[in-house]
């Protein structure tokens, strides 16, 4: 059940909010139980066969957390739990014929919780709180990956489990903006992306660039729109989700890009893989009296072991997290290469490029990576990249109305990407500017009309191509 579909918009969401309003009147326990029940229904509606897996995963991890509290062997239990979670993830993601819906997200969310409690001195959350943390429907299928440090205290509070006008106003704003991002901005791009990637070998220079650029925009607006909707849904019931995107296409380096793109995944892998691995390498070198200072990091051997290795391992995991295919693996290795060049540039104190050049260069790197990310085979990616390099010829840009409209649309989207504020900035900046959202009547009317537009657009934006008109 997608957030932008009729069943969710016209059935599930009003029902959940109505039920939450009623349950909230009876107290915290009722409100939380209602949200857990709604989350299970939400999951079962999309993947009924995997509902037992979700229940087992939540139940099993909760049992582990209870065992870990106060135990001298908490770290060992945590390690065992992580291994089991990864094994289940690996089985259902790579070996099972049908991948389990949302498994990557709820597994990582729970692994994060196990590691958070690995010291053994942190009290395990209550069952109801943990179930809500691990299976809350807005983050269940596509994140953001929730950090236990941020989320568990919010969920554990006993006050504020009521539907409030303030939360509804802000949450609905996030949700509507996300819905419009997905339905109005991202979905129509499929008419440029699909045909381009279907036959990349036939694309000359400009159409190849158009297909790649359209895909990078589609991916951003789709995913960030989904995240905005998730943040809005959580906000409506009084929970605050972390951001997942911070204007990534404005990044001035690939390092900065990864700090702004799918931030919850980056944060998770940085804290659970990159940082521990780097620390382990530094300890290993120190134990062998090898230097670990900046000068040592500038040598090829030091750079490779202290910077290169953790980055390559982390990026390979990023690739595998998305899927066990060769294009994904190449995507991870390519980004690892970009990051290494970026780090080497810094280590050598090379002069910084002008901001515009940095943004353009970073975006081109990301664009090349996105071609691999979208391609189903290496051949497909090579075909499109070959077209972008001009290997299939350079035809003049067509001057028909359809091409002009497509180009104008792409320019408009780039203007939004590079010039518009983020949803959070727009909704919560507190600025007195009239262009920034405020809980005022004019904005209420505008957002009400935008909600209508969002529901309308859920019907799809592509007219049948069957007819010539």
């Amino acid at each position: 059940m997608g957030f932008s579909g009729f069943p969710f918009l016209l059935g599930f969401l009003p029902l959940v909010l109505g039920g939450f309003a009623l349950a909230g009147r009876r107290g915290e326990a009722w409100a939380k139980s209602w949200l857990i029940a709604a989350s299970l229904v939400f999951y079962a509606a999309g993947a009924p066969t995997f509902l037992p897996l979700l229940l087992l995963s939540v139940g099993g991890n909760f049992w582990l957390l209870r065992r870990m509290h106060g135990s001298d062997t908490a770290a060992r239990w945590a390690t065992g739990g992580v291994v089991v979670n990864l094994a289940v993830l690996g089985w259902f993601k790579y070996l099972n014929a049908e991948p389990a819906l949302g498994l990557s997200f709820f597994s990582f969310t729970q692994i994060g919780c196990l590691l958070h409690h690995a010291g053994g001195d942190t009290r395990a959350p209550r069952m109801r709180d943990y179930a809500l943390y691990a299976a809350f429907f807005p983050a269940l299928l596509a994140g953001p990956i929730l950090n236990p440090r941020d989320m568990l205290p919010q969920i554990a509070r006993t006050e504020g489990w009521r539907l409030s006008a303030d939360n509804l106003a802000v949450g609905s704003g996030f949700f509507i903006i996300g819905l419009l991002k997905k339905t109005i901005l991202a979905d129509p791009l499929s008419t440029l992306v699909g045909p381009g990637f279907a036959n990349p070998a036939a694309l000359t220079f400009f159409p190849a660039w158009q297909a790649a650029m359209a895909y990078s925009l589609q991916l951003y607006f789709d995913f960030s729109g989904y995240t905005d909707m998730a943040i809005g849904l959580a906000w409506m019931v009084g929970l605050r989700f972390p951001d997942n995107f911070e204007q990534p296409y404005r990044a001035q380096s690939v390092i900065a890009y990864w700090q702004r793109w799918h931030m919850s995944l980056t944060r998770f892998l940085m804290t659970t893989v990159h940082a521990p691995l780097t620390l382990a390498i530094l300890r290993w070198r120190k134990a062998r009296r090898l230097p670990i200072d900046a000068t040592a990091q500038a040598t090829p051997a030091g750079f490779f072991s202290m910077i290169g290795m953790p980055i390559v391992v982390t990026m390979v995991l990023v690739a595998l997290w998305h899927g066990a295919t060769l294009p994904f693996l190449l995507f991870g290795l390519l980004h690892a290469g970009f990051l290494l060049v970026n780090h080497a540039w810094r280590t050598k104190h090379a002069p910084a490029l002008p901001a515009v050049a940095s943004i353009a260069l970073t975006y081109i790197c990301v664009l090349v990576g996105s071609v691999l990310f979208r391609s189903e085979s290496v051949g497909q990616a090579v075909g499109l990249l070959g077209g972008m390099a001009g290997l299939h010829g350079i035809d003049p840009i067509r001057t028909d109305g359809r091409t002009a409209a497509a180009l104008l649309w792409l320019f408009a989207l780039y203007a939004i990407v590079w010039c518009a504020p983020t949803t959070r900035q727009w909704m919560l900046s507190g600025s007195t500017s009239r262009l920034v959202w405020r809980p005022s009547s004019p904005w209420a009317v505008a957002m009400g009309c935008a909600a209508t537009l969002g529901v309308l657009a859920a019907g799809g934006t592509s007219e049948s191509l069957y007819f010539r008109f």
């Binding site: 059940m1 006008a165 934006t461 592509s462 069957y466």
Partner: protein, 358 residues
């Protein structure tokens, strides 16, 4: 609440206003085929149908030009049309005071074996009304074949609710049209299309390119197998014609050479056997052409094997000659294959209607 009240009111009011617009002003925003289908509904409502009715799919809609035929003909074929839409149109036609003398049926093999545009066109455009959809639901459920009825599946939405949303023109189902038309900018063009299709007695073109060598669906089919529900409707269509004593002729529209070269003989033979079975069953039904006539690619206007103006005129002239030489009552087996000409232009044999007398 100071925020939520105007928010809710604005959302409800704007949605309601749009719903009224969508329900009452489709000519302002729908794509041009809507106007053409509307014209056919107007002809049906006026009972201005003439001696011959054409029922079928888009190829029949584009290829048969009533104005070039010696009889008064109305072309009621529609894009994506199947036996379901044909039966719906026939039932309305038979409610008129004067019944047709001949019905030409033309459906390509694909329109017996896939749902095509039932929801996108026939239902959304209002060519099939609530009763038609209700009948289809009843038949589909009874036969256990939901392939057509459930071809537009909304996840988790009850089928009856989906049907109701289509019947009431739920605005999101029309968003693409609204967005592409700027809400109202197609009004003038659609009015012109309506007038043109009414004047052309139901004929309208699809592609008008000067040739197409694209292999269409017919060339990709592995075998011919009618869906049970479409077979049921075809049977019902022929049964109704038979009981009404109306001659029915199946005339296949040409495909291009590129498609013909790819057609699996099993498809052609299976389709022929299927139609032959109905010839044996119904006294008034005859197959009056080759099963898959094939013409040079230059006569086709798009990737779906719709004839372009030159091709449609040529085909209609051949059909005119046939209708003049062999009125429905005198047609016989020996004349099968008259549309198989693939060589030089045969239309020079046709005497223009204006010179024939009547």
């Amino acid at each position: 609440m100071l925020y939520l009240r105007p928010f809710g009111l604005a959302a409800l009011l704007s949605f309601a206003l749009l719903w009224v617009w969508v329900a009452t002003m489709p000519m302002a925003f729908m794509d041009a085929e809507y106007a053409s289908l509307r014209a056919k509904q107007v002809l049906l409502r006026r009972c201005d149908l003439g001696d011959v009715l054409v029922l079928g799919d888009s190829r029949a809609a584009a290829d048969i030009i009533p104005a070039r035929l010696p009889l008064r003909v109305t072309n009621l074929a529609i894009g994506g049309g199947k036996a379901i839409e044909a039966l719906s149109a026939l039932q309305r036609a038979l409610a008129c005071p004067v019944r047709p003398r001949l019905v030409i049926i033309s459906l390509d093999p694909g329109h017996f074996s896939r749902p095509d545009l039932l929801w996108d066109r026939s239902v959304r455009f209002g060519f099939m009304d609530g009763q038609d959809v209700s009948d289809l639901r009843e038949v589909s459920l009874r036969m256990g074949d939901l392939s057509v009825y459930d071809s537009r599946h909304f996840a988790l939405m009850p089928l009856l609710l989906r049907d109701w949303l289509y019947e009431t023109r739920f605005p999101p189902l029309f968003f693409a049209n609204l967005a592409h038309s700027g809400l109202f900018l197609r009004w003038w063009h659609n009015q012109q299309s309506l007038t043109d299709t009414l004047t052309a007695r139901g004929h309208y073109y699809f592609g008008t390119d000067p040739g197409s060598s694209t292999v269409t669906l017919d060339g990709h089919m592995a075998t011919f197998r009618a869906l049970p529900v479409l077979d049921h409707y075809f049977d019902k269509l022929l049964g109704l014609l038979d009981r009404s004593g109306i001659e029915a002729r199946f005339i296949a529209m040409p495909v291009n050479e590129a498609t013909w070269n790819e057609v699996n003989p099993a498809v052609r033979d299976g389709f022929a056997a299927y139609l032959a079975g109905y010839e044996r069953r119904y006294r008034h039904f005859r197959v009056a052409s080759e099963i898959m006539p094939h013409w040079p690619d230059r006569f086709f206007g798009d990737q779906f094997c719709h004839l372009n103006p030159e091709g449609a005129e040529r085909f209609s002239d051949l059909l005119a000659q046939r209708l003049q030489d062999a009125p429905p009552s005198t047609q016989n087996e020996a004349q099968k294959g008259w549309l198989s000409d693939t060589g030089t232009d045969a239309s020079f044999n046709v005497v223009p209607i204006s010179k024939r007398g009547s």
